[in-house]
Amino acid sequence: MATALSRHSDGQTIPVSFTLNGRLQEIDVEPHELLLDVVRDRLGLTGAKRSCDVQVCGACTLLVDGRPVSACTTLAFEVRGRSVLTIEGLADNGTLHPLQQAFIEHGGFQCGFCTPGMLLASKALLDENPNPSEEELKHFMHGNLCRCTGYKKIIESIMAAARKMRAK
């Protein structure tokens, strides 16, 4: 049956007011727009990557109200009234987050494609559990895949950052 699906939306848009990396953003989105596309293409923040596009790899991880979500499988309007953190917002006015510093010092990345997702997911982990066991860390990070490093350096980086952050 040939229906012009675009007619049924009647050009519906949803106003989305949200905090993006600490700043208020107000945009209108159509219901079908995905958060990843809005962040990358409309807002120009290309740190989050489209990789598997089926929410299993974690390369598109963003933090919404501090919790990790797959931006590739989140409708953009769902962030209305919430706070969103992308990798571009992790450093504080040019000062790297301890996790970013640790990934550099401990070799936690190679090609870097999974790294924005890794950093945001590990930030969510440490905000929730500042002293994770290695098993707890692996369980939390289970959905963030890396094809380069074999994960050992990523785990070391996160544990090192956790130690630094606890010491503060």
Partner: protein
Amino acid sequence: MLRRFRLEEPQSVAETSELLGRFGDSAKIYAGGTELLLAMKEGLVQYERLINVKRLGLNQISAENGTVKIGALCTHYELELSPAIQQRLPSLLKLEHNVANVRVRQAGTIGGNLCFAEPHADPGTLLMALGAKMVSETGSAKREIAAEDFFIDAYETSLTAEEVLTEIRVPAPGANARSAYLKFGYLERPSVGVALAFNLNGASVSDVRIAVGCAGPAPKRVAEAEALLDGKSKDEATRNLAQAGTVAGRAAEAISDLHGAQDYKEHIVGVLLKRAFQAAVS
């Protein structure tokens, strides 16, 4: 990119039900979207309207009068955090903690998981073994569906077109109750899941419930396997585990696919049943 659709945001179950009746197959309930949006992205389904049910206030969890009541719109993460689940339903807690990945647990809801009825899923199998009931409502009617009557086939439940799943009710296990859910898989979704629940009175086993999932099109209770353990001493039940596992494996209606050959999955059912029993009695 998804195709365009119209978003409806009803404020009540009655309104939701009315929308479902009015728009039929061209509309779909949308909760966490962790299954639905994937199917839409892959072009397997398309809808003119998505009905957002996250504003219906159906994400409460309570324990009263021996029943744990779980709102259908609770996310897997909310279940992990719930004191009622932590205290009363430890096997469900462990299951929820291990659903998919942290991002799916953040967005995905237990109701959405059950209603999408993806074969390779966890909660339905354990809820069946725990004797759960699903509460479904329209604007004017409400009914309870036993978990074993809820799943018809892959991607098909016994909900009617206008019904909304609102709550899952799980009898709070008593002091002698034991349960365990074990799963196996090396792909992104589980390939085999086995749930076991029973009462351990001294050294004898009663009220046995066994359910198998993931291997076949829908989770199933396996009465024939239960009979081999029910009313037996712990030792006799243990001796019967191998046969119970074989029976349960066959009952799973496993098919050969990327998750494994049929006989492999049937074998794994037996392994998981044995391990689940050992975990539950210890």
